[in-house]
């Protein structure tokens, strides 16, 4: 049985209620931390665990906590990033909907470690029904004495609130999230200062992803060292993977980091293989922002080693032949998928979601979308392909926040690995006029076929 640290009790009936959750060992981490540990000792365990941020960037959580300015006179805040809007990612929603108390418990334990007296869960507005689930869970936690004044009779007090967004992917970027929480437009801030020094209301703030905070529960319960034994190398613990696209069993899976990609795609325990008996064509392994890889490069690295579900293995080969674990949004494409059309939807997404503050992203995302729209609809030129590469290059690294990079990488990588398909669109406009072109007749590229063999 693979190790489950987050979803162990997910199938227990009524696990969303406090009572059931508590009966299955819930809130033990709060008791343990508040009654037997100092806040710094909790942070120390998180450091030892090697837990890395699950929101996409993979920054070590313990290290981030240790940066929090504890000398400031201002209050400190913990804000949970539940904005989950990266295409292909739906694990936070699953967790919050099915086992909301796990997040609440993690929030209390983490807030204690950070010395926060007020904490917020910033959740994307489209998840409004989950706002109600979380608020019910919070009410139950207050009633049971796990929130509010003098939790469990200790001197520690905490208030926890849910704050809904209103439709903006960019509010997942932590400083845009803080702006939005302050009732403003979701424009990312210039850094420095970092939130650890001047975050919410200019006070020291830690922003962590839902899954990161939920993982704190098992780290405190079992100890950081135990957690670090799960996983592989610097990719410790388990990770929720949102699997979507052309697979037999889409859904959220908790995997132990280190699982071979091939097993994840083809084993019945996970994705269950490619649907309709078709062949695997490509995978976007970590949410729409990360580079797309063709079948042969997602299963094996360029060096011919087995590709594993770890931060390191997926990144092997850099941007030439590798990708990133990102948020764990695992999007699988079969042989009938049109890479150009899929990319166009991604580019449309980034164009739609750019906050518009800085010129390369504001103008460049729209430009890329328009060119891709033309190519996909049979109005492209050969020079458009290199133009896209160049526009992507001029956005990447030159913007205020990483949304610019996130918009550029998919374009650059799709053209790097699937250039023939773009050329095909330019050469045969009449064939791509039908939006289902490759469903009628899958695109064959000799180069890729040889590599996939």
């Amino acid at each position: 049985m693979p190790k489950k640290l987050l979803l162990e009790h997910i199938d227990v009936p009524s696990i969303e209620t406090f009572e059931t959750y508590r009966r299955h060992g819930g809130y033990a981490s709060v008791e343990k931390a508040l009654k037997t540990m100092t806040p710094d000792a909790v942070t120390e365990e998180v450091k030892k665990s090697g837990l890395r941020g699950r929101g996409g960037a993979g920054f070590p959580a313990g290290l981030k906590w240790s940066f929090l300015d504890r000398k400031s006179e201002k209050p400190r805040y913990l804000v949970c990033n539940a904005d989950e809007s990266e295409p292909g990612t739906f694990k936070d929603r699953y967790l919050m909907e099915k086992i909301p108390h796990l997040l609440i418990e993690g929030m209390i334990t983490a807030s204690y470690a950070l010395g926060a007296k007020t904490s917020y869960i910033y959740i994307r507005g489209e998840y409004m029904y989950i706002v109600r689930i979380l608020e019910r869970a919070i009410e139950e936690a207050y009633a049971a004495g796990f929130l509010g004044q003098h939790i469990l009779g200790t001197p520690y007090s905490l208030d926890l609130y849910v704050h809904p967004g209103a439709g903006a992917y960019i509010c997942g970027e932590e400083t845009a999230l803080l702006e939005s929480l302050e009732g403003k437009r979701g424009n990312p801030r210039l850094k420095p200062p970092f939130p650890a020094v001047a975050g919410l209301y200019a006070a020291p703030t830690v922003v962590n992803n839902v899954e990161t905070i939920a993982a704190v529960v098992s780290i405190v319960n079992g100890g950081g060292d135990e957690y670090a034994k799960v996983g592989l190398g610097k990719s410790t613990g388990t990770k929720l993977i949102s699997a979507s696209g052309h697979i037999n069993k889409p859904g959220v899976y908790e995997i132990e980091l280190g699982l071979p990609v091939e097993e994840f795609i083809f084993s019945d325990e996970y994705c269950g293989g490619i649907w309709k008996g078709r062949k695997l064509k490509a995978v976007v392994a970590g949410g729409s922002s990360v580079p797309i890889l063709p079948a042969h490069l997602i299963l094996k690295t360029a060096k011919g080693e087995q590709r594993l579900m770890t931060y390191e293995s997926l990144a092997d080969g850099g941007f030439i032949s590798g990708t990133m674990l990102g948020s764990g949004g695992f999007i699988v494409m079969d042989e009938t998928a049109c890479i150009v059309r899929n990319l166009w939807t991604f580019s449309r997404f980034y164009h739609h979601e750019s906050c518009g503050q800085c010129s390369p992203c504001r103008e460049g995302t729209g430009w890329m979308e328009k060119v891709l729209h033309r190519i996909e609809h049979g109005h492209g030129h050969m020079h458009d392909i290199d133009l896209l590469v160049d526009v992507a290059k001029k956005i990447e690294g030159n913007t205020i926040c990483p949304l610019g990079d996130a918009a550029a990488w998919p374009v650059a990588s799709a053209i790097r690995h699937f250039r023939e398909e773009f050329e095909y669109h330019v050469k045969y406009p009449e064939k791509v006029a039908n939006p289902k072109h490759f469903e009628l007749e899958p695109f064959r590229s000799e180069r890729l076929e040889l590599s996939n063999a």
């Binding site: 437009r185 518009g356 010129s359 729209g366």
Partner: protein, 335 residues
């Protein structure tokens, strides 16, 4: 004081100085252009990205290079920092990209734009732009509108530098306009028809780096380089009263605040001085205004950008635009 090196030139500046301002202290070619930063407006900068530079050496303590190009207007220097601006091909390439981005949706209607001749974007485009546009898509357009009776908003030309919103926030007591919408459909607007009318609101015109906000009392009266700019002042109980008069004969066509060589206003003026004193006799004339850098009004720049061609093009187009006052080509170009 900390020591920094920009394009091989060493300088000592006060701690907390930005890279841009350190470069301005050196002056000359090592100064990065700036389209959104504005010294006197708090929180401005960081958005347009034309001022990107490369930090090859973070500080004496931390000799590592910074991983990405940084916005020089919002990055503070550290002791021992080494910066490349025009000596870095990477910076020049990125800047060229940014200028291209700023231009793809710009109408390029300089020939009929009141800002032509004193437009930061025009200057930037000449220095860093590429000759031919690669943008084949439809350009974004907006209707031009009056925001108040004195200010014309030509949103199509706006580069979303946010300066005018900072002026409204920081200089006036009631901001009624702002950035609406998101991404490349964001716009400067009041949302519902509202007049921007407020003692210091006219300064929005002066801080606007392009011709998006223009003075309705001046529009199309003349090309700016056919006017004669004069330094002048009057006793004003609301502001410093120190202005530049753009005159033609004994007519005052436009009044604006004084700008330094980086095209920044140092002392703001009130709307009364700007709009209500259009007679030479209202003012104490100090003498001709010397305008340098960033303006084609300046002789130097004129030579660099092939003024004659620009002028001919402009005249051709203006001829086209019947009903608008034709300029007198013989008028002297500088004060």
């Amino acid at each position: 004081m900390v020591k920094v090196t920009i394009d091989g030139i060493e300088i000592e500046v006060a701690e907390g100085t930005t890279i841009l301002n350190a470069a301005r202290q050196i002056g000359g070619d090592v100064v990065p252009p700036a389209m959104c930063y504005y010294t006197s407006l708090k929180d401005s900068g960081g958005k347009c990205r034309v001022c990107l530079v490369k930090v090859t050496h973070t500080s004496t303590k931390d000799p590592r290079p910074m991983p990405k190009l940084v916005a020089s207007c919002r990055t503070n220097v550290m002791d021992g920092m080494v910066i490349q601006n025009i000596t870095s091909p990477e910076v020049l390439e990125a800047r060229k990209g940014v200028v291209e981005f700023l231009l793809i949706n710009h109408p390029l209607d300089c020939p009929i734009c009141d800002q032509a001749g004193e437009c930061d974007l025009q200057n930037l485009a000449y220095e860093h732009g590429v000759a031919k546009t690669r943008y084949e898509e439809e350009r974004r357009t907006f209707e031009k509108i009056d925001i108040g009776d004195k200010i014309k908003l030509h949103m199509t030309r706006c580069i979303l530098c946010y300066r005018c919103t900072f002026v409204a926030d920081q200089l006036t007591d009631n901001r009624v306009h702002g950035i609406l919408g998101r991404g490349d459909t964001s716009e400067i607007s009041t949302y519902i028809q509202k007049a921007v009318d407020n003692d210091f609101s006219g300064n929005m015109i002066d801080v606007c780096p392009v011709g998006a906000l223009t003075d309705n009392t001046f529009r199309f009266k003349s090309r700016v380089w056919f006017t004669k700019p004069l330094d002048a002042h009057r006793n004003c109980d609301k502001c410093c009263g120190k202005v530049v008069l753009f005159t033609k004969g004994d007519e005052v066509l436009r009044v604006s605040a004084r700008k330094d060589k980086y095209a920044e206003v140092t002392e703001y003026i009130c709307n009364e001085c700007r709009y209500d004193h259009k007679r030479l006799s209202d003012w104490v004339i100090e003498g001709p205004r010397h305008i340098d850098r960033n303006s084609v009004i300046s002789q130097n720049h004129y030579e660099k950008i092939d003024l004659l061609k620009l002028k001919q093009e402009i005249e051709r187009q203006i001829d086209f635009e019947k009903g608008k006052q034709l300029p007198e080509p013989n008028q002297s170009l500088t004060a």
